[in-house]
């Protein structure tokens, strides 16, 4: 029990970030019109591609003789990039169509 409390206080800044981010996340999209639900989902999908940073860190500190770690890390970076790049490009293509036409 004490371990849980002490880990709570060592991570207290992170916990602040988490709680405030939850409120920001909810607040920011609460007024979105139904028209934009799909692009918004797609844009959010691209943003969680931020997980790629974790993949870069893992890969960056993998021992160069550990083939399994290198392969897994390589795969993780490829997949993360797919999420980021694919996500943003698809969203942009969708939004391109909402351009004002005259």
């Amino acid at each position: 029990m004490t371990e849980i409390f002490s880990s709570l206080s060592t991570h207290i800044e992170m916990i602040y970030i988490i709680i405030l981010s939850i409120f920001v996340g909810i607040e920011v999209i609460s007024k979105v019109p139904a028209v934009l639900h799909t692009p918004l989902m797609s844009g959010a999908n691209a943003i969680h591609g931020v997980v790629i940073i974790g993949a870069i860190i893992v890969m960056g500190h993998a021992e160069s003789h550990n083939i399994l770690a290198l392969v897994l890390g390589f795969l993780a970076v490829v997949l993360g990039t797919l999420n980021v790049v694919g996500g943003f490009v698809v969203t942009d293509r969708m939004l391109e169509m909402f351009k004002k036409k005259k």
Binding site: S21, G25, L36, T38, L40, I47, I56, G86
Partner: protein, 467 residues
């Protein structure tokens, strides 16, 4: 100095994510919002590669591997995203979401090796690794099943008799072993973490397989927020603020979006996820009693529409499948030249994703002002001459208003049946995606125009042009 640059980049990226999401929720600024978020992401990635140091003060190594991997992922990602047809967007989002989930799971797999080898085990670290692994894997395998369903590779949604119990047991086993590995990693055999990986993947499959294709948007949105949470656990693990804010933002926004989608269908999230969308005897019984549907020829439909004052087009997934968005716009323009007021009535859940129809019609250059929301157009139906339903079904089923035995009872619908004449374009008399009969087809003011949506519209264009 270097860690200051890194911190500033992360801060800027986090702020850009928030502003980007905010701008994404308005049609005029959405595209800029997406670009801002993308810029923030690039800054965070580049700063990580060059300035990140771990606790021991080591910089990022294996640079060749990393840049190679980014190049491979970037090229494949751009090409697939550029090539995909507008109609296939929903499954594309699902696919990219799955990639993110898999990425999170792989990170956890690697970190567990370091974690179990180290002498000091922090419970927080262990739980973050396990949460990232489990959520990431579920998101990955679930997204792949959702992709398969939307792509038409997997058509059935079998629900085992004890499905919910089996699923509960699998998830309990998954969570239990996750907690065990987090608390006592030194006791674990190396295969155990891979076993947990496999069980989590299995759960993702069991979780999504029984859910019908019509509910996939809700599932994708939910899995999207799952991946967000998996990314956030990664941020917790590395004390990485940008992963934390980005992940939590998406986790929270995705959950809200999921709930908004369920609300549009007037169903609760639990009923989407855990109960079969069964056809009750009552729904099929009423349909049988109503006799046969009347058919209308292309010629008659063309004349009727050309000489009407107002036409409302109700697009559905059939329009997307037939790629008929350009044809329907061409037809609408011809009718407008004849003095017909043309509008489109877009149901919140028409198509396979909310907003799916808007994206498709926008692609065909349909003016934004002609697209009407359900609330906006419903009061106008009684004064509308002709409603043309193109590949939509459940969203115009009047049973949702009055038939308590119908599975879609209570879902808000477009009151197309109140118009003077309704023409339904459909390939055949098969029930729609929800698997229920539509009593509208048997109404006295309703006519069927059978055939593939695109071919029928092309024939209509010909007929209207000949008038």
């Amino acid at each position: 100095m270097e860690h200051i640059i890194l911190d500033v980049c992360y801060l800027v990226a986090s702020v850009l994510f928030v502003i980007g999401l905010k701008k994404l929720s308005h049609p005029d600024s959405a595209r800029r919002g997406n670009l801002m978020a993308a810029f923030g992401m690039s800054a965070a990635i580049i700063a990580t590669i060059f300035f990140h140091k771990n606790d021991a003060g080591e910089a990022i190594g294996n640079l060749g591997w990393i840049i190679g991997a980014i190049a491979v992922g970037g090229v494949i990602g751009t090409l697939t995203a550029k090539k995909v047809k507008m109609t296939d967007m929903p499954q594309m989002v699902s696919l990219f979401n799955g990639m993110g989930g898999a990425c999170a799971a792989l990170i956890s797999l690697e970190e567990f090796g370091h974690f179990s080898a180290s002498l000091e085990h922090s419970l927080g670290t262990g739980l973050s690794i396990m949460a990232g692994l489990i959520i990431g894997s579920v998101s990955f395998s679930g997204s792949m099943i959702a992709f398969a369903k939307l792509q038409g590779i997997m058509e059935k949604s079998p629900r085992l008799p004890l499905g919910n119990i089996i699923n509960s047991l699998v998830i309990l086993a998954t969570l239990g072993s996750g907690v065990y590995l987090a608390i006592a990693p030194e006791m674990a055999a190396p295969w155990m973490i891979y076993g947990l990986f496999a069980v989590s993947l299995l759960y993702g499959i069991l979780f999504v397989v029984p859910i019908g294709g019509a509910d996939m948007p809700v599932v994708i949105s939910l899995l999207n927020s799952f991946t967000g949470m998996a990314a956030a656990f990664g941020g917790f693990l590395y004390h990485n603020q940008v992963m934390l804010t980005g992940g939590i933002l998406v986790g929270a926004a995705g959950t809200l979006l999921t709930i908004m989608m369920c609300r549009a269908m007037n169903r609760s999230l639990t009923s989407v996820l855990f109960s079969a969308f069964t056809v009750t005897g009552g729904a099929s019984g009423t349909a049988g009693a109503q006799g046969t549907a009347k058919e209308m020829s292309v010629q008659d439909a063309a004349v009727l529409m050309s000489y009407s004052n107002s036409l409302v087009i109700v697009p559905g997934y059939g329009l997307a499948v037939a790629q008929a968005q350009h044809a329907i716009h061409k037809m609408a323009m011809m009718l407008e030249e004849k003095g017909v007021t043309v509008r489109y009535a877009v149901h919140p859940v028409a198509g396979r994703m909310p907003g799916h129809m808007n994206v498709l019609l926008a692609e065909a250059n349909v003016p934004y002002e002609q697209l009407k929301d359900m609330e906006e157009i419903n009061p106008d139906f009684p004064s509308t001459d002709v409603v043309l339903v193109v590949g939509a079904n459940d969203v115009v089923n009047p049973a949702a208003r009055h038939d308590k035995s119908s599975p879609i009872y209570g879902m808000p619908i477009l009151d197309a049946d109140k118009a003077k004449t309704v023409i339904v374009m459909k390939r055949g008399m098969n029930p729609g995606y929800a698997g229920i009969e539509n009593e509208l087809f048997f109404y006295p003011n309703n006519y069927m125009l059978f055939g593939d949506a695109k071919k029928s519209i092309e024939k209509l264009i010909e007929a209207i042009g000949a008038l």
